[in-house]
Symmetry: C2
């Protein structure tokens, strides 16, 4: 598969993080000879928080994760690609129990301390025997520096592994945050994302991580779109190993967390943008900056309506400044706008003001901006102070080619 | 442009209808030498009702139609293709006033009795001078048998004209209903449709037509989807000329209308399906039959979620029975379902029951059905008695090609 033109030239190096070892193996889940099963093992004392898909046909591993690790303590995470274990009924849940029990037995913990995520084809049963036989090998293999292989093992149609890292201080103690993610299709609003795994050596209880993760997910993973489809398996997990022995915050509002919050948001945004930049068939990366909405949520919804419009996306693919399609998408979003006060810019070119195209509009300038591979489209909808950035890509023939042939 | 493989082999002949004359001319609105402006002239006593787009950036002609013909009396309808007169601000409304006044002056009626519709590129101003000079010529040209040219003049990316006709009895008097429509992209839920014009020689007041039109629009034009985009210009108008001198009904519930209701619904459904069958780039036509929903509206929403899913549509393009994508679309629709009781059929092949794939499922049989050009996909969501049929098409490279090059 051709690597996305937006793939980072250099992948970041995720160094070892106190309290976690990880790695990946070839379990032959869908294809022979590719890394398709990943494990993270955490030292005792690690805590976890998660946000999950809102799909009403959520996969078995999602149902497990929602109820496992109830006290927030986690000892291991098992992830496979190639098979989503979604819409697999009681057999799917039984398979989750079998696999988590096996991991728990290897590690010596309770199965409820093992999280599991799956991604891939929906509706097929997991090849449990081959996964079971690979687990001991995987457990034997994990090591402190397995981030790159872990990021690769969770890929499906991704054309490059997605990794990000940040460091910051918590009351004088340096902490590190690593994150890996996967996803390049079935990316849409109203879900957690595809898969995102964030690990920090900070000392944080689940009750503090959960609201931070939820808040930043809205502005990062839930503000991107590739194809408007919501997956059955989306999850973002954050684990704090406590390996840095950083001071414990009193609450999510404790000022000692200020730097960590900024670093976490930044890392989540980087991962989210990498997912858009690996959008199936994408040749253009677009930032939609919505202002003047009733509130931030309205701005996000309007931005996603534009970013998801097939007509906008095909115009983008053709570098055609067919701006009327953007206006039409604003109109269909269903949020409060003032149609006579929409201010629309493509790049720095002002297109509309006062309810119609402005006399100064120069299509050639807009076209020149659209020929670039990274675009900025700004829309002010003229009613309030709400604003949001939303990120999307274009829709090309290649998207169809990829998705028509995914299973074959 | 290649004609859709689903184009009817023979177009119906719409014979003359008492009380209306119509025709089309080449006004050079976007392209030279194509029919792009159509007029219908009605005898005094004709009544009109309409349903319109819910877009918040509705076009100037939509704003006009919503307020014109307040008493339900209509004398003329002017329609152009090539330019939507949408997001054109005060200039756009001024142009509507100029054009309707000119038509009114030709015919000798009040401008408020002239309806106007436009379809085409958004954001550009109408070429009013060339339209003005074409109006007298068009008025001179209209005749009783202009249905075919009228249907052609309203086409944009349509590859064939869409026409349908029915006859029925109202209390012993034979009446006829003719309909023409256009639309092949920007077709989506939550709107009236693209453009649909229905004319009958029955005697019906606006107050009776309006609720019938609204009710059947939900089950026809609002149950189809090509690309999930909602246009700024969608409208369905129904005009009753009264030329048949059929008895006047007392109310919309009057039993003398039973046959007419059936005929009207049937005609609207035929036109709606012709729009899907001309879906941009479509090679497959799919009927989604949803049952077991909480209510009919839930069933329609679930059906549209499936029909609009890019992942389902690309799988359809590849004739790949990747049924998990259908389940995922059911899950993202946000309506009440029982995930453990979804019964899914592709053609006659039962795929899921009791929360997972059934042991008897034979992918080859499902694949054989998917290789056909007209498919039936049935989904029972296991919670109630609500049901709906929804119609959609596949998503092919050709859709992108058409929409990337529309303006050029």
């Amino acid at each position: 598969m051709t690597t996305s033109p937006f793939a980072p030239k250099n992948l970041p190096t995720l160094t070892s993080l106190r309290g976690v070892s990880l790695g990946a193996v070839r379990a032959g889940i869908r294809h022979a000879n590719r890394l398709d099963m990943m494990m993270m093992r955490f030292d005792a004392g690690a805590h976890v928080a998660g946000v999950y898909t809102r799909s009403l046909t959520a996969a078995a591993p999602i149902l497990w994760c929602r109820s496992a690790c109830d006290d927030g303590e986690i000892r291991a995470l098992l992830v496979n690609s190639g098979n989503a274990n979604a819409y697999t009924g009681t057999q799917g849940m039984e398979d989750v129990r079998t696999l988590t029990a096996q991991v728990a037995s290897e590690i010596g913990c309770d199965a409820s301390q093992v999280m599991i995520c799956s991604t891939g084809v929906i509706g097929e049963f997991l090849p449990v025997p081959s996964m079971m036989s690979a687990i001991p090998q995987l457990h034997h293999h994990i090591h402190a520096d397995g981030w790159d292989e872990a990021a690769r093992a969770i890929m499906t149609t991704d054309t490059f592994p997605k990794m990000a890292t940040r460091t910051c201080m918590i009351a004088g103690t340096k902490v590190t945050i690593h994150g890996i993610a996967k996803g390049s299709g079935m990316i849409a609003p109203d879900m957690a994302t595809m898969l995102g795994f964030i690990v920090t050596d900070a000392s944080l209880p689940a009750a503090i991580m959960k609201p931070l993760l939820a808040r930043y997910t809205v502005k990062t993973f839930n503000s991107i779109t590739v194809d408007s489809d919501t997956s059955t398996n989306d999850a973002v997990l954050m684990v704090a190993t406590g390996g840095s022995r950083s001071p414990a915050p009193h609450s999510a509002g404790d000022p000692i967390l200020d730097e960590l919050k900024e670093a976490l948001y930044d890392l989540m945004k980087e991962l989210a943008l990498l997912i858009v930049k690996d959008g199936e068939g994408a040749r253009k990366f677009i930032t939609y900056r919505i202002t003047g909405a009733e509130d931030d949520e309205s701005a996000r919804i309007i931005g996603l309506a534009i970013a998801n419009s097939p007509l906008v996306k095909t115009a983008l693919a053709a570098s055609d400044p067919n701006w009327g399609r953007i206006i039409a998408a604003v109109g269909k979003a269903g949020r409060w706008i003032n149609p006579d006060q929409i201010t629309l810019y493509i790049g720095d070119e002002l297109i509309t003001h006062g309810g119609a195209v402005v006399a100064t509009y120069n299509e050639a300038t807009a076209k020149a901006h659209m020929l670039q591979s990274e675009l900025l489209i700004r829309v002010d909808v003229g009613v309030g102070e709400g604003c949001a950035d939303v990120w999307g890509c274009d829709l090309t023939e290649r998207y169809i080619e990829i998705n028509a042939n995914y299973r074959s």
